[in-house]
């Protein structure tokens, strides 16, 4: 199976996350992370791609929301600044963990020659 570098995995995770987010079921973001991690060449690349993929996806949504309703979002951002910080952490953790799951899954199902290469 072909495996990809960081950028490709990040983009795959991001695009999938953006699409899955539209279902309004956040748990499905795990799928985006798992697929991104599954296709990754290495564990670290997988974790970073998943972490950033989900995080950037969420931040993109916030940016779009802000563009569409700057009044409402500026209030939301001011009262939920803690939530914004929390969102960064939680998004990163969710992406990283699911990508890690995906990576190990791929290694178990289709082990690469080098194993869990660096």
């Amino acid at each position: 199976m072909k495996r990809y570098g960081f950028l490709a995995c990040f983009l795959i995770t991001l695009i999938l996350a953006v699409l899955l987010e539209l279902t309004r079921i956040w748990v499905l973001l795990i799928v985006a992370g798992v697929i991104g991690g599954f296709l990754s060449k290495s564990f670290l690349r997988a974790v970073f791609a998943g972490c950033l993929g989900v995080l950037v996806c969420w931040l993109l949504y916030i940016a779009v929301f802000y563009t569409l309703n700057p009044y409402g979002m500026s209030i939301a951002l001011s009262v939920f600044s803690l939530f914004l910080g929390l969102m960064v952490v939680l998004g990163a953790v969710l992406g990283a963990l699911s990508a890690s799951l995906g990576y190990f899954l791929s290694q178990v199902l289709m082990p690469s020659e080098k194993g869990s290469g660096k």
Partner: protein
């Protein structure tokens, strides 16, 4: 055989397998929906952009045009929102209209609706847990039986007014459709997300429950209990000095001498002939009950004890247009979001079209205060006495003495579900009933105290029908016929029509309290409705369920010869003009607001010969404090005597207006509080053990203190019983002034009285139900003018005030004006969350127009097409 590569592979796979299992386990552990307050799962649900809190910010801005399929409607309903987010509905039938209002109410105010029904049903513990006062609130409302009362109404409506019931069903369908849409789009109001629960479906019963909570707010007073305590401690003569049957100064709605007599009724006996049999229950029991009520009030937001209102109507004879002007400003709690939700609708009803605008309660699809194209109306509270407390002789825990026999209490089981961090715990209680009603029970030091509550809201009542029909009236006479159904909470309806008629009726169903032989007890003794009743007395006083004082027997005026009608919770009429006056109420407001409104109307008419809509706006926003005008000279004199020359000059030159930059206003209100306190608190401290009961002097009418200050400075209550000297009004007022100055120095942090601006002391305090924790949900604490007993009655804590200002111009209804203290939307991220608040505070108004078509709606912001599915 070389197996190194294979072994290495196996090791690697084993390592990856471990990695897989560990990753999976951490994910599962992290995302498991633990039943704790802040599990990672719930945090993810909150921060996710498309389903958490952020989506509420996005959807706070509604699209310019939307099409929504509503399977329950027969024809398209168009809803145009104006620039304040007020919906203008255009519907082909009332059923479609109710459906659409349900949808829009839910979209803008769903959590408020759910909160209110939970208050009524005693189910706040399910969402808040057992935090301060919540369980007490739930318990009180379950015992009093607001839901049971609503259920009785529902049965009656189904049977007698099926058309109205159908509308409530259509409304519920609309609400439920909106709930489903919000659930699907994850846009349920933010409060649901923060409290982590989802709303149950809405039912017609819930709409009737909202009616009950308003009814309780306006009539569910425990004043009988504190009057009893004052009587018990101070005796009849002193009590009647402090809280006289008729205030020292009264301004009646009906001009004295203008009879509204209704037939042969016996006049009440003179007060001196009264025979009082005071109950001998412990003051601790009453103290507990009052404390219980106070705790409940914390959670019962829409109408706390401090309610009031103004309305008045002026005949065309005195207006510049030759047609009536009608004003109303009900003073309720300043809540977030506001108590009212404004709507305008044009609807076909039979062969007719009705064009109606006014305010609804979220949860009820009916305009409560407003106007159609013919008739307009406004309400103030009659301050009616629709509640009594009974106490008994008990044989044991289950049997009480009533009419020569022991009777067994009836029991009803109630189950509470109390939210905790680990889920819900159930608590089962039994509510006990006597023949008079449910028992409020307390155990103090092992002794059980019980009072049965008889409240009008426990009965089936028909005001929902009256309110619905008001929008169908063609003139005031038809309107008046519908008021016969308005039973609770009794409201002073003022009304006018485009033909130039004006009127008033103190609409309500009032208890006819009778002795066993059927004679009216209040005519025997006017104090009877003001005190707890001995239910075990062979001569027990009870409500005659088959002979009420009905709305059509309430005092009324139609086109009075003096040309206007003013009501401000003041006493309706002198007893010589209306013989049932002591039956219907006793907690009237002091004369201040009513007299000031009358004075301003008279002044304007004398000056110009007529009044205009601008004059009405000026009067509605008037902040002159009549009490201050009355005591100003006295205070200035006291300030002079005690060496406060600067304060003397300030008070002398003060116009008695409670404006935000006034320093005299600041000094007056703080001084007056100390003055009342120092006059009465010493006697109350002497008589009562409990700190709360020692503060009962606060309930005394201001008019009593005003009267004795002006007429008898040596009145015995001015003497401080804690000192050897003999104090009088002047010495007490001097002491109060000293204390006030010390307080203000501390409060403002400066001795410079020019800095003591009233607005720094009196700040808007409009709170959300969750606002004590989440302060950003509250409205801004802007400096507020006005004061309790001003026409612009923004109360002392600025947490209640004019909840809706309406001025109807019957020469051209499109020229009418209105405003609410806040905004239409319950979404804190919406531009309509409090876009009317500044205007309201500054005394400005919106146009209250009645467009006939969607195209005529001015400043349209967005439009929804509800289409049949």
């Amino acid at each position: 055989m070389y197996t190194g590569c294979y072994d290495e592979r196996v090791t690697l796979v084993r390592r990856e397998l471990i990695g897989l299992v560990v990753s999976f386990a951490i994910l599962v552990l992290l995302l498991f929906p633990y039943p704790v307050a802040l599990s990672p799962f719930s945090l993810y649900s909150l921060v996710d952009p498309m389903s958490g809190v952020w989506i509420n910010a996005l959807t706070a801005k509604v699209p310019a045009e939307e099409k929504i399929v509503l399977p329950g409607i027969d024809h398209e309903v168009i809803v145009v929102f104006d620039k304040y987010g007020v919906p203008h509905f255009f519907a082909e039938s009332e059923k479609d209209l109710a459906y659409a209002i349900g949808y829009i109410h839910a979209r803008d105010r769903l959590w408020q609706m759910d909160f209110l029904r939970r208050v009524v049903e005693g189910r706040l513990t399910e969402i808040f847990g057992n935090i301060s006062g919540v369980y007490e609130s739930d318990l009180l409302f379950r015992i009093v039986g607001l839901k049971r009362g609503a259920y009785e109404c529902e049965k009656l409506l189904k049977e007698k007014f099926p058309d109205l019931y159908e509308l409530l069903e259509a409304y519920s369908e609309g609400v439920n459709r909106a709930i489903e849409d919000m659930k699907l789009s994850k846009t349920l109001p933010i409060e649901f997300k923060l409290l982590r629960y989802e709303p149950e479906p809405w039912t017609p019963l819930n709409s009737l429950e909202i009616g009950r909570i308003i009814g309780w707010g306006l009539t569910g007073t425990f004043a009988d209990l504190y009057l009893y305590l004052i009587l018990q401690k101070f005796g009849i003569n002193d009590t009647l000095q402090l809280m006289p049957i008729d205030r020292y100064k009264e301004v009646y709605i009906v001009k004295p001498g203008y009879k509204v007599t209704l037939g042969n009724v016996t006049k009440p006996k003179a007060i001196s002939n009264m025979e009082l049999h005071l109950p001998d229950f412990d003051e601790k029991a009453v103290e507990e009950l009052l404390e219980w009520k106070r705790k409940t009030d914390i959670w019962f937001l829409p109408i706390k004890e401090a309610f009031a209102s103004n309305n008045w109507v002026i005949s065309g004879f005195y207006t510049n247009t030759g047609k009536p002007l009608l004003c109303n400003d009900p003073h309720l709690s300043l809540t977030v979001p506001p108590v009212w939700y404004e709507v305008h609708y044009v609807v076909k009803s039979g062969d007719e079209i009705f064009n109606v605008r006014g305010v609804t309660f979220p949860g009820i699809p009916i305009v409560i205060i407003g106007s159609n194209q013919y008739v307009g109306w406004g309400f103030t509270n009659v301050m009616a006495d629709q509640i009594d407390f009974y106490y008994y002789v008990w044989k044991n825990d289950t049997h009480y003495w009533y009419k020569d026999a022991w009777h067994k209490i009836r029991q009803v089981k109630e189950v509470f579900r109390i939210k905790t961090d680990a889920g819900f715990v159930e608590k089962v209680i039994y509510i006990n009933f006597t023949v008079h009603g449910p028992l409020l029970e307390m155990k103090i030091d092992g002794k059980r105290y019980r009072f049965a509550v008889r409240w009008m809201g426990q009965n089936a009542t028909t005001e929902a029908y009256a309110l619905w029909k008001y929008a169908h009236a063609h003139d005031i006479y038809e309107f008046l016929s519908y008021t016969n159904y308005f039973q609770m909470p009794p409201q002073n309806h003022v009304f006018a029509d485009i033909y130039g008629n004006i009127g008033w009726r103190a609409c309500g169903r009032y208890p006819n309290r009778t002795f066993p032989n059927g004679t009216n007890a209040v005519q025997f003794n006017p104090l009877i409705p003001r005190l707890p009743i001995n239910g075990s007395d062979p001569n027990v006083i009870e409500w005659n369920d088959s002979d009420w004082i009905e709305p059509w027997e309430a005092p009324q005026l139609i086109n009075p010869p003096w040309g206007y009608i003013v009501t401000a919770n003041n006493k309706a009429a002198n007893v010589s003009d209306y013989p049932y006056i002591y039956d219907i109420a006793w907690t009237w407001a002091d004369y201040y607001r009513a007299s000031r409104i009358q004075e301003l109307i008279n002044e304007t008419i004398n000056e110009k010969g007529y009044v205009t809509i601008e004059d009405m706006m000026r009067i509605q926003n008037d902040v002159l404090l009549v009490l201050a005008r009355s005591l100003k000279e006295f205070l200035a004199d006291v300030a002079g005597r005690y060496g406060y020359e600067n304060i003397k000059n300030l008070i002398e030159n003060w116009d008695c207006r409670m404006t935000i930059n006034s320093t005299a206003a600041t000094i007056f209100v703080v001084w007056y509080d100390y003055y009342k306190n120092f006059t009465f608190s010493d006697e109350f401290r002497e008589k009562f053990e409990s700190k709360d009961l020692q503060n009962l002097w606060m309930e005394l009418p201001d008019n009593t203190l005003e009267h004795f200050t002006l007429t008898n400075k040596s009145w015995k209550w001015f003497n401080d019983v804690g000192t050897k000297e003999r104090e009088n009004a002047t010495t007490i007022a001097g002491k109060a002034l000293k204390a006030a100055i010390e307080y203000l120095k501390k409060y403002f942090g400066t001795d410079d009285i020019n800095e003591w601006k009233f607005g720094k002391l009196h700040k808007l305090n409009a709170q959300h139900a969750m606002g004590s924790t989440l302060k950003w949900l509250n409205y801004p604490n802007w400096e507020a003018l006005g004061w309790s007993n001003c026409v612009n009655n923004i109360g002392r804590n600025a947490d209640h005030g004019p909840s809706w200002r309406e001025i109807l111009d019957f020469s051209d209804l499109n020229n009418s004006r209105c405003i609410i203290p806040g905004g239409q939307s319950g979404n804190p991220f919406s531009e309509h969350y409090y876009d009317q608040l500044r205007m309201w505070l500054d005394g400005e108004y919106k146009k209250m127009s009645f467009p006939a078509t969607p195209e005529e709606v001015e400043d349209a912001e967005s439009i929804i097409h509800f289409v049949p599915g």
